[in-house]
Point group: C2
Chain length 97, copies 2
Amino acid sequence: MAAAKRIALSERQLSLIARALADPRRYEILQKIGSSNSVCACGDIRDCLPITPATLSHHMKELENAGLIEAKRSGKFVNYTLRRDVLQAYLDRLARI
Amino acid sequence: MAAAKRIALSERQLSLIARALADPRRYEILQKIGSSNSVCACGDIRDCLPITPATLSHHMKELENAGLIEAKRSGKFVNYTLRRDVLQAYLDRLARI
DNA sequence: TCATCAATTAGATACTTGTCGAAATATCGA
DNA sequence: TCGATATTTCGACAAGTATCTAATTGATGA
């Protein structure tokens, strides 16, 4: 079995994830985080997108709030990792439609 | 192979689908359409959701515009079917993150 | 300690959108 | 043709949100 632990999403989280994915910029951000094997700092993302730090911070909060990413502070920086298990849970849910 | 024909989604359609799925009511509608083996009329959906015909019409247009459902007029009624191929294409795309 | 850089928060604004009521359109049966 | 039923369109409004600038907090190194 590929997924040892299936995550069950509440209706609320389901909705948060769907809305988080609805913004093209957040989709790009997720791709960026997902494509980097290691962690990904805010600055890395800002280098790719023409947005202000404030706007980026807002988007990151949305993604984190949805459970799609995990933030970990490291000194001045904040590193993000993609929660593939949560994303997979969302896909599983959609596939059940 | 399960999917004989892979559908490639444009960035635009990707965004339309994501936004269409972002509304909980539209998610419910999709479930309703998907769960009915045969076609599904507007009235069937209205019986499940406390919304006015105008609002429902609006949602159906969004879903159709995103390519997630197909509408076919049959006399007074309009019947909808879920485009599972499009939904699958969306899932494939998200899984690639 | 202070200057600097990273990130967040606060407040404001413009745009999007979910919703409704009312009017219009479409189709069917009598 | 007329009336009834199904769906759509129009116009409006309220709520949500993506974005910015400016100010703030947090952490590092000189």
